[in-house]
């Protein structure tokens, strides 16, 4: 078996370095409450990023995740208010996300429109459709069983941790050991070669968009239950965090290479930056600039060392 990929190793090193600096400069960062908050705030990003990893591995991109996230969040609130039990609310949000993903996927896979154009259009259209439907109103007076998915504030993180571990392992395992996973890598590496080898590349492309939508729906529920109301403008800019985490984690933006483990590390690194700055007394306005710098570093490394650099992939 191959050892851990270079990219995973360097992101891990960056995380460790940041942790060391924090341990020396701001040990309060490691307080249980802070880590817990940080974890819960980043879990939705990770869930959406796992779906995005699949999309980017096939050589596409989905910038409509923020809008899909908002629709699924509002829908989950409305379903819960209508008395639907929470497990079905979560499933419903995934289904709505999956349907919106299918919309993106159909345009990309079967009408062969570039994914950046399709998802740019749906990003704007879905966001405005939501604004028009809700009139900008937030979903309030959520039923008691909505918050913390009907559990308590202390049980919920455990539940979510379990969920995330299952998802992370399932996506990694599937990409590695299922023909479908191989098809994702092959499609992203060379869509023509994959098709000639009998891979149903259109179906693969369609499916990863559906999966990304469903993951985003789940992310929306996991995020919404932390609050007592659901803003209809939630998820603005989420696509940037999600895509950045995937790219920093070593998935090639052109497809074919990358791992969910890298994405996990990307989410951790980018998620730590903002709070770390706050703890070290640096203006939070630097957060975006530093995240941007990390993204540029990551893509520059890919560009400068295409032959030496070997991002790990399972194929």
């Amino acid at each position: 078996m191959r050892s851990i990929g270079r990219r995973e190793a360097s992101v891990l090193a960056a995380i460790a370095a940041l942790a060391l600096v924090l341990a020396a400069a701001a040990p309060g960062f490691f307080a249980r409450d802070n880590l817990g908050d940080l974890f819960l705030a980043n879990v939705p990003v990770l869930i959406a990023a796992l779906g995005m990893t699949l999309v980017i591995l096939t050589g596409h991109i989905d910038i409509s995740v923020g809008s899909v996230f908002a629709i699924c969040a509002v829908a989950s609130g409305l379903l819960a208010k209508a008395g639907v039990p929470m497990p079905l609310v979560a499933l419903g949000a995934c289904a709505i996300g999956g349907l919106l993903g299918a919309l993106n996927g159909a345009f990309v896979a079967y009408l062969r429109i570039p994914s950046i154009v399709v998802t740019l259009a749906t990003m704007v259209a879905l966001r405005d459709a939501l604004r028009w439907t809700t009139g900008g109103a937030w979903v309030q007076e959520l039923p008691a069983g909505f918050q913390w998915l009907g559990t308590t504030q202390s049980v919920y993180p455990v539940l979510v941790a379990g969920l995330v571990i299952i998802l992370q392992v399932a996506v990694s395992w599937g990409l590695r050991n299922l023909a479908a996973g191989r098809a994702v890598y092959a499609t992203g590496s060379s869509v023509d070669a994959a098709r000639l080898a009998g891979v149903r590349t259109s179906l693969v492309t369609f499916s990863v968009f559906v999966a990304a939508g469903a993951f985003t729906g789940l992310a929306a529920v996991v995020n919404s239950v932390r609050f007592s109301q659901i803003p209809s403008n939630t998820g603005i800019g989420l696509e940037l965090n999600v895509i950045a985490a995937v790219v920093v984690g070593g998935t090639l933006i052109t497809g074919g290479r990358g791992t969910p483990a890298g994405t996990l590390l990307g989410v951790v690194l980018l998620g730590m930056i903002g709070p770390a700055l706050t703890f070290m007394g640096v203006s939070p306005y630097w957060e975006r600039a530093i995240q941007g710098g990390i993204i540029l570093t990551a893509v520059a490394v890919d560009a400068v060392r295409p032959h030496v650099m070997r991002v790990r992939s399972y194929a």
Partner: protein, 503 residues
């Protein structure tokens, strides 16, 4: 002629290493005005490195280059161009969305980028250059509407327009048919009459003998020898190239044909330009598919393989009708297709040898839908041994292998699907002499095992040497089928060229 002609270019004692690998160990080469000097050698012998050094893309570690008597101590691409060295690559490097005239102007026009373009002058200059090499192309045509040979013509027009004194042709005929090759020969003769020196690189020895004055053989980064074309024969040249005796005859042996593996009846596909195609390939038979580029050979393969579904006629595989609407259907029916452009279509360069080998037959190395990675590696290792694929490991990425070995990986992928029919599109294009013989040997072995083989090739000696029967295509239909005994180069060419001949 060459003896009296002035020396255009001289390279002596050139050595170059990349990351510890010695690509060139002492190569000497010279070129006279009006001379065609061929460079031959197996893949990896150092031909491309030498070209890169002559064009300034790489700097030599040691050695000297003299152009027209002047030593050049610092060669870079701009200097190389200024000294009159132009290259026509196997894959033309033109801007597809610009017109021929714009492409030529891009290479020739100098001046400020905000200057006003004189379109009339630009087009007439391009028309003049094209006329000089006898090409009827319209300078205002966008390059993406040109065929590969037409694009090469544009590259040559660029070289002539730049008043190049040395034109390097790197595998210029790789995708050309015989008639187009003839045309290229005419252009080379024209260049020669203008005292241009031509460095000609090709794997096709017939061409080397037809076109060049002298031949330099490279092997493992050394100049093994330079011979005048009259002083060397094919056998000696191959010996020099491979450093060992190699059979120059094709390993074809008669195999008793079995049941039909593929039958195509009155097949048509309007979008792909095919009409009323009928042919049959028996198990154990190699059917050569000859014809000019553009005659519909690849389109026929793609239609049979389900890439562009047919709109009329019948395809039977092993006697059962096949209506393939995707490669998946065709693969299930037992068809394998090794496409022409293997780097883009034949293999997935980012994937390992093992993953490439199993890609079309994952079911065979899976249990309950889960890939058994150990079984996958084992299966790939079998093919690596059986096809003698040179790779450090089955986990090495295919992009790191040489062309011949990539082609073998493509073959391995299809053999592992246990096909009854395999379609090979230009199986040995751009493959060195040694790998070529191995691939021919493999084809013979597969035929003996009862596979039907449909081999598309523009290499007439290969078609004649390897086929049991030869079908010749012209304008989207089969013009005639020749038996091995009837087939000669003129017989094939007359069918491929003359729309009215019947055999």
């Amino acid at each position: 002629m060459p003896a009296a002609a002035p020396l255009l270019l001289e390279a002596t004692g050139i050595a170059k290493s990349f990351a510890g690998v010695q690509a060139l160990k002492g190569v000497s080469f010279d070129l006279h005005a009006g001379e065609v000097h061929a460079i031959v050698g197996e893949n990896g012998a150092g031909k491309s490195t030498l070209i890169k050094i002559l064009t300034g893309a790489e700097r030599p570690d040691t050695g000297s280059i003299t152009i027209a008597g002047q030593p050049v101590d610092h060669m870079d691409p701009a200097t190389s161009r200024a000294l009159g060295i132009a290259v026509v690559y196997q894959q033309p490097s033109l801007f597809p969305h610009l017109t021929i005239a714009e492409n030529i102007a891009m290479a020739l026009e100098r001046g400020a980028i905000w200057r006003r373009v004189d379109w009339r002058r630009r087009n007439s200059q391009a028309a003049g250059l094209l006329a000089r090499i006898g090409s009827p192309l319209d300078p205002e045509r966008p390059v993406d509407t040109l065929s590969m040979p037409e694009q090469q013509i544009v590259e040559i027009a660029k070289a002539i327009g730049a008043e190049a004194r040395v034109v390097i042709m790197d595998e210029p005929t790789a995708s050309l048919t015989d008639r187009e090759v003839e045309n290229l020969y005419r252009v080379i003769a024209l260049l020669r009459s203008h005292s241009v020196g031509v460095i000609y690189i090709s794997h096709r020895l017939e061409e080397i003998f037809a076109v060049s004055d002298r031949i330099t053989v490279l092997r493992d980064g050394h100049t093994v020898g330079t011979r005048a074309v009259g002083d060397v024969d094919r056998g000696e040249l191959i010996r020099l190239m491979v450093g060992r005796e190699l059979s120059t005859v094709f390993p074809k042996a008669a195999v008793k044909p079995g049941e039909p593996a593929l039958e195509v009846r009155n097949l048509s596909n309007e979008a792909a330009g095919l009409r009323d195609v009928s042919l049959m390939v028996a198990r154990g038979e190699i059917l050569g598919l000859a014809g000019l580029v553009g005659s519909g050979r690849t389109q026929l393969a793609e239609t049979v393989f389900g890439l562009t579904p047919a709109d009329g006629g019948e395809i039977l595989v092993g006697g059962r009708p096949l209506r393939a609407t995707s490669p998946r259907d065709a693969i299930r029916a037992g068809i394998a297709y090794v496409p022409e452009d293997r780097r883009q279509h034949g293999v997935v360069l980012d994937m390992s040898v093992a993953a490439n080998t199993s890609l079309a037959s994952l079911g065979a190395v899976s249990r309950r839908g889960i890939i058994d990675r150990a079984a996958e590696r084992g299966k790939a290792q079998e093919y690596v041994d059986r096809l003698r694929i040179k790779t450090s490991s089955v986990l090495a990425e295919v992009g790191t292998l040489s062309g011949g070995n990539q082609q073998k990986v493509a073959l391995a992928r299809w053999l592992s699907t246990n096909p009854s029919l395999i379609i090979l599109d230009e199986p040995t294009q751009g493959v060195d002499v040694g790998s070529k013989a191995e691939i021919h040997g493999l084809m013979q072995m597969l035929a003996e095992r009862g596979l039907g083989i449909l081999m598309i090739s523009s290499d007439l000696p290969e078609i004649l040497g390897m086929s049991d029967r030869i079908a010749v295509m012209h304008k989207g239909t089969i013009r005639g089928v020749l038996t091995r005994a009837e087939a000669t180069q003129p017989a094939i060419m007359s069918l491929a060229l003359d729309p009215d001949s019947h055999h």
